[in-house]
Symmetry: C2
Subunit: 102 residues, 2 copies
């Protein structure tokens, strides 16, 4: 099966197609996260949660980098000696500029 | 600049090369996360932390899916009506099988 270009970043309407895409992309995302962690010596924590299906996928690069540790780390009341970049889905235009990445 | 095949998943020794790889891959990872979130209607939370440089990158797909919400969600003492998959860097062999993904 070849890749089709993504025209718009909308929720895939068809249940089966969405599920297939989810399985493939979930796997791809975790793989990329592991690679970034190992190549660049980063601690990574990732959670993917399907509200509808109540299905949770958790990846933590290192055992000690748990949800609790992360929650403390991102707490804005902590000393700001740490540089802190934040992104949400609203930032997609900044990431969509390079169409070649798709 | 072309892509070189990754021979081994080891920390990149050269500081500048590691920094370049980090910038590119960080961006790619967030983009993939946004896409997964939007195409498959998922809540996603991602943190990348460089211990050495004390540099934190945080992505949360939706404003309400914060670190605190996530920490509560992954707490193992919660009712297990939620299906819960867990991965760490030790799972890389399971992801490396498909070399074509690189």
């Amino acid at each position: 099966m070849g890749k089709r270009k993504i025209e718009t970043l909308q929720r895939i309407g068809d249940d089966k197609a969405r599920q297939t895409t989810f399985c493939k992309r979930k796997r791809g995302l975790i793989k990329k996260a592991i690679e970034l962690s190992m190549l660049c010596d980063q601690l990574i924590f990732l959670v993917v949660f399907d509200k509808e299906k109540q299905r949770l996928v958790e990846y933590q690069s290192h055992g000690e980098f748990s949800a609790k540790v992360v929650a403390r780390l991102v707490d804005p009341s902590l000393p700001s000696s740490i540089s802190h970049e934040k992104y949400t889905n609203l930032d997609i235009p900044n990431f969509a500029l390079q169409a070649s990445d798709l």
